[in-house]
Symmetry: C2
């Protein structure tokens, strides 16, 4: 609050009124760094995960100007996929690794695809539609051993799984505040010390010359505090959320016919479930659930206005690609036990209405 | 406030809790559009002016992939200059137009420099260090008549001068919220209808597919309200601020020896004054003024940690480039008449101490 009201000085200014704001930015940077085991100076603030993802890939390509091959997967977030598609128009070659029916990657595919031309591998930690986890440690080690930069979109993971970049040879790692209860409009990018970085947004000397633009002090303070809280709650997160998610998921799969889980049963975040309801159009189901106060989605919010089927489901189960018949439900630490049977009952009622 | 507390839904979500937030974004977009005479759909939100400036130049170059010449001036903001320098490394040719001792541009220079290879002209409306105004209407008309895209960095002008893009053939125009009392971390970019635009930040479907990233709803609401207030106060701005600025400026120039105004006397914003104090190092003067509660700067805050002399002063007065001997003072509508003699006295005392 003070940084939205009285303490509005420009942190880059020479005078005290601005300079005192500079220290709160560095406190927030340390808080975010601690969440991922990074050194403070390895973290820069961005405006969102989309910017972090674009900036990391951009930097990796600039670090290796003669290598023009990028490896990613078919199930990445649109901020990676759409940027890669734009880069294809600029003459880069992109490999989109496939996933199996459970949403898992074959590491042999990655190993076989890396070549002398490969500049960067961008593979997410957890999928935003299914929660499926990629084997980040193995991916990072393959990239390191082959001399290829590795960018990891870890947006879904923050506050849900322990992250420690000291144990993982990841070069760039993207985060965004609103996935762990900070305000929307602030992201972060981890850049391993000594990894080359060229800015995506060129301007003043902010963020160690790596990201121009006057710092959004209130949001930076917000992501710092949220990171501190996420770290505090992390040891209890899984045991709090996973049983509720499992109860919700099993209730739906058992009580509602023609349903199917999307994504690997266990290699998955504790809070996400993605379920196909055969014969039911997602949009109609979401409207009925919304009336009951249940906020669900049929994929990424970033693409929610799209009529196209989810690219993630399409990659996992090509036969399900003709229409959207799935919904994603996400839980949080704030989810109460009593809400689980309520949600199951509401979904059962809604699907019953739509199937008559 | 509600968008930082209870109304935190994702505006791109399908459910009501998110969808109701979508409408406040569109209200803010209309408020910003009205400030510059634009249609609502011609405005997108960005994270800052630096992003807006980069994005506009990037889009113009993408619109004309075969033209690789950019024209700008030697006194632009670092977000234009540093981006242009990065583009030079990518094979673009950049002309940095000179200014005269008053900070003014020669339009003949612009006309003579535009060639068949020229893709975009990026020239600011008002300079951030001196307040000097460029003849935007004439620049825009020259660009239009020569078939070259025109980007205008209008960051310093918002709320201080009437802007109406219906009367000016500007293609892209950059704004940032904190220059008219919105929170830091939110900018806007005007893109004239039918002007080609390729995103700088690729991601989801936000901002009509022109700028990916989850919308920062609280800051967007903030820039909308600030634009509405700026528009309301605009008719009285000049008559309120200019007499105070003139009194401050004349007081300093008359009472303190070896001082000199930087920037044209009249072709200038009403709120800025930039004065050289010969023989005095800016840094020392700023520290003394800071103790008296006067927040001044020796150039752009974005480059405040730099030891280099101001590139703006260097372009205007090459002989003054050896050291920083100038300060910039900015006023606002909130500045009180009684503060003017106080500031003059404090500056007189400080310069007296430094010259003994």
């Amino acid at each position: 609050m003070p940084h939205l009201t009285t303490e509005w000085g420009n942190p880059s200014s020479a005078y005290k009124f601005g300079a005192k704001v500079k220290s709160v930015i560095e406190t927030a940077r340390a808080q975010v760094a601690e969440l991922i085991g990074a050194q403070t100076r390895e973290v820069i603030f961005t405006s969102c995960a989309t910017e972090s993802n674009n900036a990391a890939i951009h930097a990796a390509l600039k670090a290796n100007p003669n290598k023009r091959h990028i490896i990613t997967s078919a199930v990445e977030h649109s901020s990676v996929l759409n940027y890669c598609m734009a880069l294809e128009k600029d003459g880069y070659r992109v490999t989109y690794l496939p996933v199996d029916r459970d949403g898992l990657l074959k590491l042999a595919d990655l190993e076989n695809t890396i070549g002398n031309e490969t500049s960067v591998v961008s593979l997410m930690w957890a999928n935003n539609e299914t929660g499926v986890l990629f084997p980040v440690k193995e991916i990072a080690e393959i990239c390191r051993s082959r001399g290829v930069l590795y960018h990891c979109d870890a947006v879904q993971v923050a506050g849900k799984i322990e992250m420690d970049v000291r144990k993982l040879p990841i070069d760039y790692l993207s985060l965004t505040g609103h996935k762990f209860h900070a305000p929307k409009g602030i992201g972060a990018l981890y850049i391993r010390r000594k990894t080359l970085f060229s800015p995506l947004i060129h301007g003043g000397h902010q963020e160690h010359n790596l990201r121009g633009g006057t710092e959004s002090v209130p949001l930076i303070v917000g992501i710092g505090k949220a990171a501190e809280l996420a770290r505090k709650h992390l040891p209890h997160y899984d045991q709090k959320v996973r049983p509720l998610r499992d109860a919700l998921e099993e209730g739906i799969l058992q009580l509602i016919p023609n349903t199917e889980l999307n994504g690997h049963k266990t290699q998955r975040l504790a809070n996400t479930t993605n379920i196909t309801f055969r014969g039911i159009e997602s949009g109609a189901l979401l409207i009925l659930l919304d009336k009951e106060g249940i906020c669900a989605s049929s994929g990424s919010a970033c693409l929610a206005d799209s009529d196209e089927p989810s690219h993630v489901l399409k990659a996992m189960k090509p036969e399900s690609a003709a229409s959207r018949q799935m919904i994603r439900l996400s839980l949080a630490q704030e989810t109460k036990e009593a809400e689980i049977p309520q949600a199951i009952a509401a979904i059962k009622t809604a699907t019953g209405m739509l199937r008559i």
